[in-house]
């Protein structure tokens, strides 16, 4: 009934630990049996043994854990910046004709808010930060496949991020054409000034950073898995990062290429995306004209896979956290993997649903593929619910954030189906209905699921716990603030309020919804102030975490917290996608695949709860 053999057979896959002083590791304070691998001597040794320390370590390290942390810290700082911009945006909209910001400043702020959140936070936090840190650990690898390329990725990302922020300092201000930079508004004629160029350069830099990380992730997952870690024993988070890496390789080169073309339009006299300078008759193209529509096609051919580059890692986090706090394996593991692949495949064929109102795309094709994405996404929902079903749920901070994700993403998903239907999109396109939709999706994934991952892996990264009470305050304030911010936006969007406006007519009844939204945004801000306080507390008064504080399933919880330089001195046998769990709970293995009849018979019996 099980293929797990002798669980005491601890396999050495790495060379014996190098000589050196052992670092005193905080040991688990949880009941026996819930700890990580109870190795006789955890020969953990920090990276101190392997190179410089202090600031020089952070500047020169090629260790995936150091780079992962650098990524995470940088992206969270940028997240706070972008959040503060959002507060200014909300303050401006609280009254119809606010004089807080000028129209120009407002346009700069929402452009940079979107750019920071999407390009510099959500993606890099997931595939640069968490994935960098967690993926090699989850597959039992000592590091990423190309450690120096990994370091280059980070430094390109940091340089690009600083470049983006420098936009605020140049003459004429930062880019103000929206995060999508639609041509020809982004042309030199309509958006003169260095701000736009700085924005383009920043994205070229971070685009290369993402591409290198994509290469690294794919190579690492294909080539550096530990013995026994077959593809179908990889944790879902690693699976999702593999698919994300492939999507990055499909999408980001298109963006980078389009940005180079846009730069040529702005400076070298080409008119790839503009019709200025070409011969027009009554506004219709006559000869030698570029195509503004081409920008939209190229941008969204990047942009829609990008949406899933931003979503899949976070689906992966949720799929790690829910099983651990339900004490069950992932329900429908293989279905989940295929659903992820289906989402990735479909995501390359739906870009024009952002362009329904151009009147220049084949509506039924893009509508059908967009609606179809609901199917694999729905499968994931049922997998998540199936994982919780019949479990023993414990509502720690990461678990609460995951449930917050489920509810937010459910609402964002349902409204997404509506928007996949062209006639409904005609009625709501570029209104606050769409703003509410994509914020529910993106805050659901990048913030709820993202910080679920942060709270979940923090003990592994720093060997200390975050305060669960403060974590719960963070969650509940975020949860209330989130719904209060975005639900009124659906309503005001249906009433016709367009996005990206700095003022609105007074007599349309829009103000009350905007006021509610602003209150919600400030509640979210308070919740994130609490998170800072929590981090400060954990730094000042450490609560030791031990190797495996959550009684988790996957390999990374087998090693010490934080892991030693090359991650593992020993590995448990890997006979399922839950090696650490199997090691700690040899009597609670997953019901093997194929025992369906027995499971169904069990379900039919409808026995009363004991």
């Amino acid at each position: 009934m099980t293929d797990v053999t002798d669980v005491t057979d601890v396999t050495d896959v790495l060379a014996p630990p190098a000589p050196g002083h052992d670092v005193e590791l905080p040991q688990t304070h949880l009941p026996a049996g819930t700890g990580g691998g109870h190795l006789d001597e955890p020969h953990g040794h920090g990276h101190e043994d392997h190179g410089p320390t202090g600031i020089l370590k952070w500047l020169t390290s090629t260790d995936h854990k150091v780079i992962g942390l650098s990524y995470m810290i940088t992206s969270i700082v940028l997240f706070y910046f972008a959040g503060i911009m959002a507060l200014f945006i909300r303050l401006q909209l609280t009254t119809p004709h606010s004089s807080l910001l000028t129209f120009g400043q407002y346009n700069e702020l929402f452009t940079m808010h979107g750019s920071l959140m999407l390009y510099l936070f959500a993606g890099p936090f997931a595939f640069g930060g968490l994935a960098n840190y967690v993926v090699p650990l989850q597959i039992g690898a000592p590091d990423m496949a190309f450690p120096r390329l990994n370091a280059l990725s980070y430094w390109l990302y940091l340089t690009g991020s600083i470049t983006m922020l420098l936009g605020f300092l140049v003459a004429g201000g930062a880019a103000s054409f929206g995060w999508v930079a639609y041509a020809p508004l982004s042309s030199a004629a309509s958006s003169p000034g260095i701000g736009g160029d700085v924005w383009i350069m920043a994205l070229v830099l971070t685009g290369f950073s993402a591409i290198f990380t994509g290469v690294n992730l794919v190579a690492t997952i294909f080539y550096l898995r530990a013995p026994g870690m077959t593809m179908f024993r990889m944790p879902i988070f690693t699976w999702n990062m593999l698919v994300t890496g492939i999507l990055i390789l499909i999408a980001f080169p298109v963006l980078t290429g389009a940005l180079v073309m846009l730069f040529c339009d702005r400076h070298f006299g080409t008119h790839i995306f503009t019709v200025t300078g070409c011969h027009l008759v009554n506004g219709a193209p006559y000869s030698g004209c570029g195509s503004p529509l081409l920008w939209q096609n190229l941008f969204w051919f990047f942009g829609h896979p990008e949406v899933y580059i931003l979503a899949l890692p976070f689906f992966g986090i949720v799929t790690e956290v829910l099983p651990v706090f339900s004490r069950k394996p992932v329900f429908g593991y293989k279905g989940m993997v295929f659903a992820t692949m289906a989402i990735a495949a479909l995501s390359t064929g739906v870009w024009a649903h952002h362009m329904f109102t151009t009147g220049a795309v084949l509506l039924p094709f893009f509508s059908f593929l967009s609606l179809l994405i609901a199917v694999p996404t729905g499968i994931k929902f049922f997998n998540w619910i199936g994982t919780m079903w019949g479990g023993q749920l414990v509502f720690t901070t990461p678990m609460l954030f995951c449930i917050g994700f489920l509810l937010a993403f459910l609402m964002g998903g349902v409204t997404g189906i509506m928007l996949a239907s062209p006639p409904i999109d005609f009625a709501t396109h570029d209104t606050y209905f769409v703003v509410a939709h994509f914020h529910q999706v993106l805050v659901g994934t990048a913030v709820f699921a993202g910080f679920a991952g942060f709270y979940y892996w923090y003990p592994k990264m720093f060997g200390r716990m975050l305060n669960d009470t403060l974590g719960k305050w963070h969650f509940w304030l975020l949860f209330v603030g989130f719904w209060l911010t975005f639900m009124p936006q659906y309503i005001v969007g249906l009433k016709g309020m367009p996005r990206r406006v700095a003022s609105y007519p007074t007599d349309l009844g829009w103000q009350i919804y905007n006021e509610l939204s602003t209150i919600g945004a400030f509640i979210i801000a308070v919740s994130f102030a609490i998170m800072l306080w929590n981090l400060w507390q954990s730094w000042r008064k450490p609560i030791p975490a031990g190797n495996n504080p959550w009684d988790a399933h996957t390999l990374e919880w087998f090693t010490t917290s934080p892991p030693p330089h090359h991650n593992y001195t020993h590995l448990p046998p890997i006979r399922s996608e839950r090696p650490t769990w199997d090691y700690n709970h040899p009597d609670a293995l997953a019901v093997p695949h194929g025992v369906v009849a027995e499971a169904a018979a069990h379900a039919r019996k409808k026995e009363p709860v004991a």
Binding site: S190, G283, S326, T357, A360, F426, D587
Partner: protein, 311 residues
């Protein structure tokens, strides 16, 4: 090798869910079908009912999607809530380590596909209606969007050389042109009960032509002209606004739509055509003595009954 507590862990959610789900699907289909037959009796769920036939069609589709979303989303929501409250950790007992249930997995794959197919069919039906542009519209209007305003062009008098302002050969001096000014938003006059074709284009950057109460928007793009039809159901005044970011004063790019009866429209257009023939720099005025339903007026800068400036 299952845990001893396995038998008690799960009181059979597995075979109950699919049946419930398909029953709900059937209900959704019936409700949706009924909706399309007698849509007006169903609430609009926050959306405008639609002041054109196209907008009304969209509204019915919206009602269908809203109800379907409510049913499916509500079902999933209740499942999540049930899981959260029913399976709180009450003991250290090891739950049954169930990982697969093929039948259930097939059901929750196939049922969403069916739902999506149904939604897609209704989408295509509505879309064909909304997007249809009959060959012989009762009126043709060319809309030029620019930073940061709108120009509405109507054909000139017969024989003036401006039968269609979008045509490259049109004699632009003889077309009837309505344009706004900084203190006045421009007003587009259209007749009720007939197909009006709009040819939309932009003179500079991308703009969004959006009339909320028509449940419709379309990009105005430089480089190509896009066409669509309105068939207004009743007279009235409606506000419109640019929805696509177009630079500094995007927030102020308003316009109005005034729907009058066919007779009033014909009289108005003939009057203006004659005036343009007499004086090419004539400023068109709104149809006189027409009150198109002031209740719908909601823009503060709306120029009800006032003069329109033209060029």
């Amino acid at each position: 090798m299952t845990s001893p507590s396995a038998e008690s862990a799960d009181p059979s959610p597995l075979d109950g869910a699919p049946r419930r789900r398909s029953r709900w699907l059937a209900a959704a289909a019936v409700v949706g079908g009924a909706l399309l037959l007698a849509g007006c009796k169903v609430p609009n769920f926050g959306e405008y009912p639609g002041a054109t036939t196209q907008g009304r069609t969209e509204n019915h589709l919206w009602q269908l999607f809203f109800i379907a979303g409510l049913v499916v989303g509500g079902f999933v929501f209740l499942l999540i809530l049930w899981a959260i409250f029913r399976y709180r950790r009450k003991s250290e007992e090891m739950p049954r380590q169930t990982q697969y249930h093929t039948l259930l997995e097939v059901v929750y794959t196939v049922v969403p596909i069916i739902i999506v197919l149904v939604l897609f069919v209704f989408t295509v039906l509505a879309e064909n209606n909304v997007d249809a542009t009959p060959a012989r519209p009762a009126a043709t209007i060319t809309v030029n969007a620019f930073q940061w305003g709108w120009e509405f062009e109507y054909p000139g008098a017969p024989g003036s050389g401006c039968a269609n302002p979008s045509s490259p050969t049109a004699n632009q001096n003889r077309c009837v042109k309505v344009i706004g000014q900084t203190t006045q938003d421009p007003t587009m006059v259209i007749p009720t009960g007939s197909e009006v074709q709009i040819n939309l284009r932009s003179l500079d950057v991308l703009h969004g032509f959006y009339v909320p109460e028509f449940n419709f928007s379309r990009y105005a793009s430089p480089g190509y002209t896009t066409s669509f039809d309105f068939n207004a159901l009743h007279t009235g005044d409606f506000r419109g606004q640019c929805t696509q970011l177009c630079g500094l004063y995007h927030s102020l790019m308003f316009f109005n739509v005034k729907v009058v009866t066919r007779g009033q429209f014909t009289v108005w257009l003939h009057t203006e055509q004659a005036a343009v023939e007499a004086n090419p720099s004539h400023n068109p005025k709104l149809p006189s003595g027409v009150n198109g339903g002031a209740a719908n007026t909601n823009s503060p800068s709306n120029n009800q009954g006032g003069d329109l400036s033209g060029d």
